[in-house]
Symmetry: C2
């Protein structure tokens, strides 16, 4: 019986080992981060927790600003415009984008969304899933961004 008890213990340890592998695979469900998380966006410009990292600063050669925002679930930008337009590239998660007067559109990994110059819009995560979102601000010789009021819960929850 001692042998059988020892074997049972070994089986137990093996099962535990397999479960630990499952758990570490489960962690892979968190969003894939390509860039460092960056700094928390200010409450005057974002609802909830959004973290921004700049990747390409504005200059007079490329006229383009690039960066990445990680939106926690429920987080979103205020309404704003870009004088030269903006391109959003989703690298993981699920988010919302709305151009004023149009329905909220869902954005997922691999989606590319454009917002024309001087057009009011907002973007952020969906309520239950975060969003990894690169932004490319174009024609920055015309300006980068003009910030406006927060997106109300009523508007955000209208999806």
């Amino acid at each position: 019986m001692k042998r059988i008890t020892l074997l049972s213990l070994m089986i137990g340890l093996l099962i535990q080992g397999c479960h630990q592998q499952e758990a570490s695979k489960g962690e892979g469900k968190s969003l894939e981060a390509i860039f460092p998380k960056g700094n928390k966006g200010p409450a005057e410009l974002f609802t909830g927790n959004a973290y921004n990292i700049g990747l390409v600063p504005n200059d007079s050669v490329y006229h383009t600003v690039v960066g990445n925002v990680y939106f926690e679930p429920g987080a979103r930008s205020n309404w704003h415009t870009h004088p030269g337009g903006q391109i959003l590239i989703i690298t993981d998660g699920e988010g919302y984008h709305q151009i004023e007067g149009k329905p909220i559109e869902i954005m997922k990994k691999g989606d590319v969304v454009k917002c024309p110059p001087n057009t009011r819009h907002w973007h952020g995560a969906s309520p239950d899933t975060g969003l990894q979102q690169m932004y490319v601000v174009t024609n920055t010789d015309k300006g980068i961004v003009e910030w406006m009021e927060p997106v109300s819960d009523e508007v955000y929850n209208s999806k």
Copy 2:
């Protein structure tokens, strides 16, 4: 003894199960793809296998072209210039970038590399690891790309 044989068999199956999990985790070493693979670049413009997918076509609003290239190990572009400049964003793998007259620089996940307007350069994968590389061509009102000769093995292997 029959019990012990049965337990040994169970242990064997559990060990096999664990190894199968290891194997499927090992597959995760292949590069993370955010976008569809796209179409193979022509041999006149690329050495080796490079696959391009366009994400934002040229227009008169954004003046920006965005796309993704997956370079298999050893694959690279020909020498070329961009009249309005280019920004490269690496989302996975390892690659090379060289501006003429400068050393080859290694690019990895999360790196952002710029090439000024009208400057000869080439980019591609490292010899042993592929590259997932987004490109942002800026100021496309000045032009998009001018293609030149292939990168010789001597230049490519000089890293």
